[in-house]
């Protein structure tokens, strides 16, 4: 092997900051090559993908609308992942939150009080938490692997949602389209600006961001979650309640995903439709790890993910770029970001003959 990695023993502070920059440079470089090979102007393509979508206020508002559910789900996942509980079920928890919130909303369309919105949001959040609670129960009671159970519950949630929009929750005056009635005005999240879709859900996301940050960085419960994740025996030896912590982490995780779902239906969409989520719950898994399970990092990575979503769409429309190419570009960026993180813990080393000899003499000189 010409190039080998050796462990640093400690995190490199410098690389902690440099690795995202390195990844960005590599992505831009390789992306340009890819676009040139396909006969596109690289600068124009990159501009369309990354800058044009956010060059006006409306674009920024769309970015926030996209980023919001991803951010909420990823924050919840970060709590579970810190405890090494691999909740893959954010998607299902989000869908169930949307479903339960809608089920309430279509029954109180006439309600004028703002309490309608509060009740709907609460219902959605609790439903998401309950769905994750199923995973927690299966894990703590039967020691069932949470990866499998949470994935399977995703499909159950999706089919439950499809059943409801085709059946009990279908709008009676909706010409048999699979969608619910539009929610009442009192049940909709208020918009934040005149000419954009960004809504009050942003405040919940900011609140959740601060709350998760305090939980993970400052609170003793967060410390217990971290110890449980890093070292189960140490947690047992000081008497941290493993089962209780698993329940807590999954309930928080599910609750935030449920909130994301109910914010979608009561915010930009305004009714329950089969396509509530284009896979936000799965994107959130990538985002959580990209943000290194740190709430602030997750904020940035969810914005980046949303940008990739929007930029991909506009590149398809204005440049006739095939969808596969924009997805390839997204994949490349994620690959480089995760790959550069290796440099935080490992140091690359060239194994040429002359370097080895040089080192040996250096050691010898040091010994003398």
């Amino acid at each position: 092997m010409l190039l080998s990695l050796e462990p640093r023993g400690q995190q490199s502070r410098l690389m902690l900051w440099c690795s995202p920059l390195l990844a960005a440079a590599l992505t831009l470089g390789c992306g340009s090559l890819l676009f040139i090979a396909l006969g596109h102007d690289p600068l124009l393509t990159l501009h369309t993908l990354l800058i044009a979508p956010v060059s006006d206020l409306y674009g920024v508002s769309e970015l926030l609308v996209k980023a919001l559910p991803i951010l909420l789900c990823a924050l919840g996942l970060a709590v579970a992942y810190q405890a090494r509980i691999w909740n893959i079920g954010a998607e299902g928890q989000l869908l169930l939150g949307a479903l339960a919130g809608s089920a309430l909303a279509v029954n109180i369309i006439g309600m004028q009080s703002r309490w309608a919105l509060v009740l709907i949001l609460l219902t959605g959040t609790l439903a998401g938490a309950a769905w994750a609670g199923l995973t927690a129960w299966l894990r703590t009671r039967f020691n069932a692997n949470e990866i499998l159970t949470s994935i399977m519950l995703n499909y159950i949630a999706l089919n439950l949602l499809l059943y409801c929009v085709h059946g009990p929750l279908k709008d009676p005056e909706g010409f048999n389209f699979p969608q619910s009635a539009m929610f009442g005005d009192a049940s909709r999240l208020p918009l934040l600006m005149e000419d954009g879709r960004v809504h009050a859900g942003v405040y919940f996301a900011l609140l959740a961001l601060v709350a998760v940050w305090v939980l993970l960085q400052k609170s003793f419960v967060g410390f217990q979650i971290k110890v449980l994740g890093l070292d189960k025996r140490a947690a047992g030896f000081v008497g941290f309640r493993e089962k209780r912590l698993i329940w807590l982490a999954l309930l928080i995780s599910g609750g935030l995903a449920g909130l994301a779902g109910v914010c979608e239906v009561s915010g930009p969409i305004g009714q329950l439709v089969p396509q509530v989520s284009p896979g936000y719950g799965y994107a959130a898994i990538t985002v959580a790890f990209l943000g290194r399970l740190n709430p602030v990092g997750i904020l940035f990575s969810s914005l980046l993910m949303a940008l990739l979503y929007i930029g991909g769409e506009s590149a398809q429309m204005s440049l006739n770029l095939p969808q596969a190419i924009t997805q390839l570009f997204q994949g490349m960026m994620l690959f480089f970001l995760l790959a550069s993180d290796v440099l935080i813990l490992y140091r690359p080393r060239l194994n040429l003959r002359w370097t080895r000899r040089a080192q040996a003499t250096a050691v010898h000189a040091g010994a003398l």
Partner: protein
Amino acid sequence: MPNPAPAPDPIARLQLRKITKRYPGCLANDGIDLTIAPGEIHALLGENGAGKSTLMKIIYGVTHADSGEVIWQGQRVSLRNPAQARGLGIGMVFQHFSLFETLSVAQNIALAMGAAAGTPKQLEPKIREVSRRYGMALEPERLVHSLSIGERQRVEIIRCLMQDIRLLILDEPTSVLTPQEADDLFVTLRRLAAEGCSILFISHKLGEVRALCHGATVLRGGRVAGHCVPAECSDQQLARLMVGEAAELIADYPKVIGGEAFLDVRGLSWHNPDPFGCSLSDIDLEVRCGEIVGIAGVAGNGQDELLALLSGEERLPREASATIRFAREPVAHLRPDARRQLGLAFVPAERLGHGAVPELSLADNALLTAFQQGLVSNGLIQRGKVEALAEEIIRRFGVKTPDSQTPARSLSGGNLQKFILGREILQQPALLVAAHPTWGVDVGAAATIHRALIALRDAGAAILVISEDLDELFQISDRLGALCGGRLSALSATVDTRLSDVGGWMAGQFAAPQSLATR
């Protein structure tokens, strides 16, 4: 008595010249010279981290030196892998055995020797012959899981002796043996040496090195600190070579008689659900305030189980809660944090992964067990107080570390152990349970730890030490007992106890003399 040194031979069996091996961040071996004559029992002495393991792995071909020469019977060789080393006649017995528990002795040996050596059935007569010749009783048909640790070690040694062996490397072979078993092993090794086989004996127990070895090479910090003839050196001299400082390393502490009982265990029996684990039966144990009770025993005789039951990691049902009591309070059903509130402090056997979380900083690891000492308010961690506690532990117990933000994993074993012990002692416990407090710790750190334990005892705490190191137990404990097969011998005052008594208890000979002890 050591054998007379063999006559000098013009050609050494093995000679190492200027062996250097660098790992990331440390120079494990730095220009090491070592010569072993045919038929010589040579000791490789040194603290943990002195470079012993690296050096023997180089000799056995497991790792490769960055520079330096290996000369085998006058020929320069480059050892690429263990198979090549075995081909030359080098055998090695590792500290941790690599045997398949569900196979028989003969099957294990046949597996290790390869298809060319024959089937297990064909090997059986040879195994019998070798075991008879060297006085190591062993039945080839027996399954390995039914063997004691000492017998398993014999399997490993016989496996080496089945080939034409010229150099046998033993890595801390006595750490798993009772004193009597160790004596038996020495008889075998002397016979082997008398037949011309060289032996490289790795250890940090000075007494046995002096009894067995003709010559010794002492390593310190990756370099040769000196060569000596162990029989002509005192413990102090050898320890000084190993550690390099002339602190009072081997001290005598006055023995005391404790006050009122704090820890009281009555008729503790516990069935281990793990079929390869050890169950406890009818254990009575009392530790008084202001005394140290030491429990000896070969690993796997119920130590882990007893420790888990004392710490609260394993709990008994509420009906049996009075089986374990702290100052008359029944605790056997309580969780670890509840027991800590009643005055328990605990030092587990494994430092990383049990006593401390490797990835977390020292400050966070201080918080790990001391969270009931006012470090948390309204659910939030009081960072300032946690840092202050960590700094105090580091200062008071001389932990060598850049700062309190260093991850626990990057500390050496001895330093981390000082930190963990300091963390527990600063909580002013009424009862401290410590498992193997100085295992793998250098002599200097061990002395610090022993002094801290004695100081805690003199401050009135009840202390229970479970250890495999008999020298340590005799040095610090006021009363002694031993575990064997999940049963505990009666405790007896250290001053009235001989080493051979404890050896007998460790082998399970305590059922009858128990009545004698009470008389």
